[in-house]
Amino acid sequence: MELFIQYSLYIISCVCIFVPFFGFGLGPPVIIGTAVSVFAGNAYALIAQKGILKNFIKDKKDSGQSGGLVPVLEEAQKLIDGIENPGSVMKKEGHHGDEHGEHHHHIIPIPVYVGVLLVLLIGTVITVAVAQVDFGAMNTVIAILVATIKAAFVLAFFMHLKYDNMLNRVIFGSGFFFLMLLIAFSAADIFTRANVVKTF
């Protein structure tokens, strides 16, 4: 999967270099935005999955350097560990269903589910409440923003994506990514069309 990410990265940066070159109006923000996010995702994947950071810290410690940035980096590594291996954080619950051996499914406790339910209900209330006030074009933005936060909670907890492996996250993210391409390029046509004027 990293290969996939890296190769699409190459392509998108290619596009990135050439599109601003022509001074197009709409393309660059969209494409640069996606490129930056892919860069970020890729860097994250490298650090998290290949353990680059971990190795770096280890090297430093081995060679006796522990000042400077090393403690900060260690904190960062812990954070990544927390995201990547949630099981290690919530071990007690996780091992309950594993009596039969090899497989490790993370089980989220009921209070978490209840909390998510509450968040979603509050989100709904906010959506409805905000819609009663007229913010103009911001209404759509707020609505989509709140909806996205709600969706993130559903994905992370109800759909267990927070505790799932990287691949499934990438798979699901790619759906949204390609959707974004569809809308970006369709919009690049529809909103840049010349207005044809009739003189008679």
């Binding site: 392509i11 596009v15 599109v19 109006g25 390029f185």
Partner: protein
Amino acid sequence: MSQSTAHVATGQDNYLNHEKGIWSWLSTVDHKRIAVMYLVSVLTFFLVGGIFALLVRGALFNALPENKIIQITPDVYNQFMSYHGIIMVFMVIVPGIPAIFGNFLLPVMLGAKDVAFPRLNLASYYVYMAGAALAVGTLFVGKIDTGWTFYTPYSIKTSTSVVMAVLAAFTMGMASILTGLNFIVTTHKLRAPGQTMNKIPLFVWAIYATSIIQILATPVLGITLLLIGAERALGVGIFDPNLGGDPVLFQHFFWFYSHPAVYIMILPAMGIISELISTFSRKTIFGYTAIAYSSLAIAAVSFLVWGHHMFVSGQSEFAGILFSVITMLVGVPTAIKLFNWISTMYKGSVRLDTPMLYAIGFLFLFTIGGLTGVWLASTGMDVHFHDTYFVVAHFHYVMVGGVLMAFTGGLFFWFPKMFGKMTNDTLGRLSWVFVFTGFNVTFFPQFILGALGMPRRYFEYHPAYEPLNQISTVGSWLIGLGFVIALVAIIHGLLSGEKAGANPWGSKTLEWQTPSPPPHDNFPITPTVTAGPYEYR
């Protein structure tokens, strides 16, 4: 495991005789048997689509309707042309290589016992057949005359049974999604021990890239087709200009699938060619990584270039230029592949058996198709060539000259593996001669016709174009003859071919390391992979 070993000891048990009776075939979950069922279905549809092609070419032998050798009316011609497109695209080329060779070979090449979801695999076969039945059903209920593209608003206005046809395409799209899903999970999860992503054969890489496209592009086609149905039933207005819709948006949605679909068709063909060239040059493939990655690159970029089908469709000039430059980028990985295949032959030991002849034919035709593709990707040139016979010639060079050549080559190559018998090499070579020359005779004149300005999908045309069209029609008969000879070679091989050994071509990939035909579980013992797929030392 002990069971499998026992079978090998007798040397008799294989997937063909593992179970007996027609029901054991229809209800099988063995990927190899499903592949054979796909083979039979796809070849049948190919025959039907080919007959439509010959009829279309026959009708175009003469310019004016009054002296046509095939006396049909324009509406019948439009139906022939539409059926040729729909059958060949949705029923033959899109499922062709992935569903037949992908199904048969992907698990074997990975060293797995089956695909990840065998029952889903069978289900997708039946979904595909249901879609095909719907499509063929329109022949008896109302016909279809929209072409394979279903452009609105024509598809909303025409009185033919468009709803049934779009449902057919939707259903077959569903089958395509399920197959792709199965292959992706299989590639991720079911590789044999030691079979890392850097060691899988290039055919698997190609199928993997194809599957990604299938998963990501087909749903958009699905919703587009459903919307056409809704448009006809309810008049929702999303694509109907009378109700405020934008027909050009339909084209965006349609080509968001259908351009990547072009790569659904050609990528597996490229995979086959990688295997053929390496095996018959008895040499390791040149630039494995480059070929593998360029498959993924093509898959990724293919989603960004759909607008090059729409340079003159009324999309904005800005979008046209944007799509044009990205299209140029697709040319780079394609060029990389061509160069790599050719340098694979350098200092090799090349043997021109039937499959290799087809591979050489592929390289020849695909080079022409690819180069003319660059012309069409350029905005300035495409304005003149768009929707003329130049485009027709270009995509037939890629689709027929590319995909079908690779398909036939692959069929002759893996036939010993699939059925345990050899085909007659003389017949195979003869078929190649006819297909190859016939193909060039048919489609090269169409480049000239297109440059001269003959528009596509014309039933009657200016008499000045007649001589070139007649050459083209004669060529189509040669292709037809060539494929009939190929079919004879296949049937002859099935009935009275020599018995094939496990590895008749001396290939190094995993599927040749198991008996021909493979046993029910593919391998007597789960293999452990230690070397790459092309280690010819």
